[in-house]
Point group: C2
């Protein structure tokens, strides 16, 4: 039997008392470790985090908490090799893909350490300037942001066990709010190991960082009024969380980041073979294959002028054809596995569903696996589908509704820009869209047209061909989240991320009281 | 039979096809008008608002929309007398209380007209500065706020048919988002009349402002992904809205402002008869009786040092004893009616419930009615209860849980400041707390301690005795809303109110694209 990973709750390492759920290597099929949260006293653990962890964190200033984030970065960097090994084994990712998760997580944590330092030795933030409440300037209103006195529960997705932890934990801990992380079971090992390293290093006050691996049963029942919940995952689970009595009856703040049908748009009047054309083909092929397409930000729909449909199909397909798929331990492999059997089946079923309304432009089934047994390994080649014509793009409703969470995207030809925008909006809100063109005014105008339905608009023009940060890469400086289908949440965006963990309040008082308040380091 | 008020939807005045629900005079018991939303095609009406009203509003700039708000202010001011007549008849309020609703609403609308002008001739807002995404400054991230392409549905409470409309509609319309207002049936007349005056004046594009009076059945079913819903009312209805499939499945943004058990705190070391002592007694008596205590911001719990319990009880009771109750048409009357029979019964039941854990310090039953028939009029005198001792304050859990929505408050003695703060927090999140004291540092410190559990902290020190804007008065400059029990919403707060109607998006692009975007007046 493999090792059962201990949970950290109530200031103690606790092993579940149940049968345990095994985690597997998606390439070799071997069992790695087990998770088990059976028998944990969740209400007591949450109360401990709230009272001990929260009070200890709030007693520190932003600068002191930022220093802790920096210290955590050092611990994680020292153990980086172990994380890469776990990721290879448990996520089946090649090194470059592991880097997106492991190094991306550490980078984000480091970014918040730097941002936090700029907040200084204070315990709350001023929000804007004081405003007069009448003609006499003696009585004014000053908004303040103070940390919520609850826990931050994170229920995370399997695709980013490291980044998903730290992009949420960094702003929470910096805000003075204790974190309880419940990673997705399939890849919980990496999250658990990172938390263990940081906890064992004694960086944060006890109760500031807890980890629960296994079933999520009972977690939402332990939530109280001033707690916050952040969830990344499916729309179905998001609906369960949103309608949970703790949320519905206690006004608990919830942030949801759900899957979405992201898009890439090659602007009209772009010639085949132009720089913008090539940049689109390159980015789409990269987005489809990074982490085997298991990114919530990955491009799923590629909008191109109808006249360029065939040329774009060929350009992307040519790149996909070069993608070697298989065992991430083989250095020639460019794309590893899907996370597990269930995801493999889900992708296969999704392909069947989409193919009924599309044609195959590049067939993933033509890729043979390198160093991997097709009967065991959860690997699939990248597949590009297409809707054939502008009319087909209107008719193929599944393309706009369905996210196949793997190396799958669909080429969607459009008649004119208005048609393209209408089709993109059929995604009903996405995390990100990317635009490809060379005229700044046209790009700016299209970006504004799509801003209300996207959390991020990534504009790739030839001048930033080598500088841009990638359609699917989430940078801590920019908002992550999107409306509607994408869940309606907001994460990151620099210091904006701290808002979720703070409460805004208007203090109306005489200027002498407001002066005392502004100068307060309480 | 009285007149059936027409609804304005789909760009037309439409009278419901059902039996109609009568509205009454709560003092005289006479029927005034009827409301009826039966047979309205809600999906078509919402689609019309979304497509016609939304597109027309978004085609205008902030400055142009601000000018429309100014024009609406003029129309409302011209019809002010009619609104006072309707309020007297339908809400049973004295003139000073009507002013809080009618003039407060017009003032808030005017404030947003001024704020909007400062936004200039633009169609979107920049959110913060651009941030570098790497060492090379050519590729950056600029956050923008663009109006959501949906409708704003307001489901409002009976106590502020005017202010409740305009404090929400002003920021929505200024943002470029069409409004559909569903007033509470009991007092829908004033809302309907104000909308009618503004619609008939042809100020806003058709579809920008709609009103539906009567049942709320079907309203939430008509909600789509990019719509927003703002609700003011009970926690029970709030839970129904939050768990509605449109919200749970479509990530629809919802703002809730629910009832809360607000507090006033006389700080320790305040002598009986001191200025702070008197300011507390005066404000509590005022808060209890304005609009017969039917304000979601009204003081429900008064925290005082145990040694001052009797003195404060006497000071407040002396003021309450002078409150003449009855027909608002009689100029000697200082407090009018509750809104209807149902509220009268609710207040009476609430009093019975609270009295089981408290003593009566001033009995509302001792007030005889002026110019009103006690068998008909929905009038009650103000009642002050008390928990007797600091121990009693701990034991009387109902006092901290129960909002009696009428002229009722409870005096709660505390041992020391820490005890007071703990007791106040038993309200589980409130709209507002007010602090009474004279030392700026102590007041600032207490304000920060309570900021995380209150949307607003109102500090009354002797220097602002005549300048402060009142515990329960909601100023457009300051946030309105509170965490937890208070619903977790955020309204007003100056331009912050516009955030709810805008979507935040990060545009990542080359500086040339971002320059074109910043200069865009699109």
């Amino acid at each position: 039997m493999t090792q059962k990973l201990p949970n950290f709750l109530n200031g103690q390492w606790q092993t579940g008392s149940g049968t345990g759920t095994p985690l597997f290597d998606p390439v070799l099929g071997t069992e790695l470790v087990q998770v088990d949260a059976t028998g944990l006293d969740l209400p007591a653990g949450f109360a401990f985090a709230r009272e001990q962890g929260g009070a200890a964190l709030r007693a520190l200033t932003y600068r002191q908490r930022a220093a802790m984030l920096s210290a955590a970065v050092k611990v994680l960097q020292a153990n980086r090799d172990a994380y890469y090994d776990i990721a290879t084994a448990n996520s089946g990712t090649i090194k470059n893909d592991t880097a997106v998760d492991v190094d991306g997580g550490i980078f984000t944590l480091g970014t918040y350490a730097k941002l936090g330092e700029s907040l200084g030795d204070r315990h709350f933030m001023l929000d804007g300037e004081a405003a007069r409440l009448g003609k006499d300037p003696l009585f004014q209103s000053q908004h303040v942001l103070t940390p919520t006195r609850g826990v931050a529960l994170f229920i995370n997705a399997f695709n980013f066990p490291s980044w998903g932890l730290w992009e949420k934990a960094a702003p929470a801990l910096l805000s003075g709010v204790p974190v309880i992380i419940k990673p997705a079971t399939a890849t919980a090992w990496l999250t658990q190991r990172m938390v263990q390293d940081v906890v064992d290093a004694g960086i944060f006050p006890v109760g500031a960082l807890s980890v629960i691996c296994g079933s999520s049963a009972g977690l939402m029942d332990a939530i109280e009024t001033f707690d916050v919940v952040s969830f990344t995952g499916s729309a179905e689970t998001a609906a369960v969380i949103r309608s949970h009595p703790s949320v519905v009856q206690k006004s608990v703040r919830v942030n949801i980041e759900a899957d979405s049908v992201n898009s890439a748009l090659l602007l009209p009047d772009t010639a085949a073979g132009s720089e913008s054309f090539d940049l689109l083909a390159k980015e789409v092929a990269r987005e489809m294959t990074v982490k085997s397409g298991q990114k919530c930000t990955a491009i799923r729909r590629i909008f191109v002028p109808e006249a360029l449909y065939t040329a774009v199909a060929q350009a992307i397909s040519a790149r996909l054809a070069k993608t070697t798929v298989g065992n991430p331990r083989n250095e020639s492999v460019r794309m590893g596995a899907l996370v597990n059997r269930a995801q493999l089946v889900s992708v296969q079923e999704g392909l069947v569903y989409l193919k009924q309304q599309t044609e195959i432009l590049h067939d993933g089934a033509t890729h043979s696996l390198v160093d991997a047994d097709a009967a065991v390994a959860c690997c699939v080649g990248p597949t590009l589908l297409g809707t054939r014509s502008a009319q087909g793009s209107d008719d193929a409703d599944r393309v706009h509704d369905t996210e196949v969470f793997g190396p799958v995207a669909t080429l969607v030809p459009y008649r004119d820009l208005a048609h393209a925008l209408t089709l993109i909006r059929r995604g009903q809100g996405s995390l990100v869209t990317s635009l490809y063109g060379s005229d700044p005014a046209t790009l700016a105008s299209a970006a504004l047209e799509l801003a209300d339905s996207h959390g991020r608009v990534h504009v790739i023009s030839p001048d930033v061909a080598v500088l841009h940060t990638g359609h699917g890469n989430v940078m801590p400086q920019s908002l992550h989240g999107g409306p509607g289908r994408a869940g309606g949440g907001e994460e990151l965006g620099g210091l904006r991320a701290l808002n979720f963990y703070h409460r805004r309040s208007a203090v109306q008082a005489s200027t002498s009281v407001l002066s005392a308040l502004s100068e307060s380091t309480n």
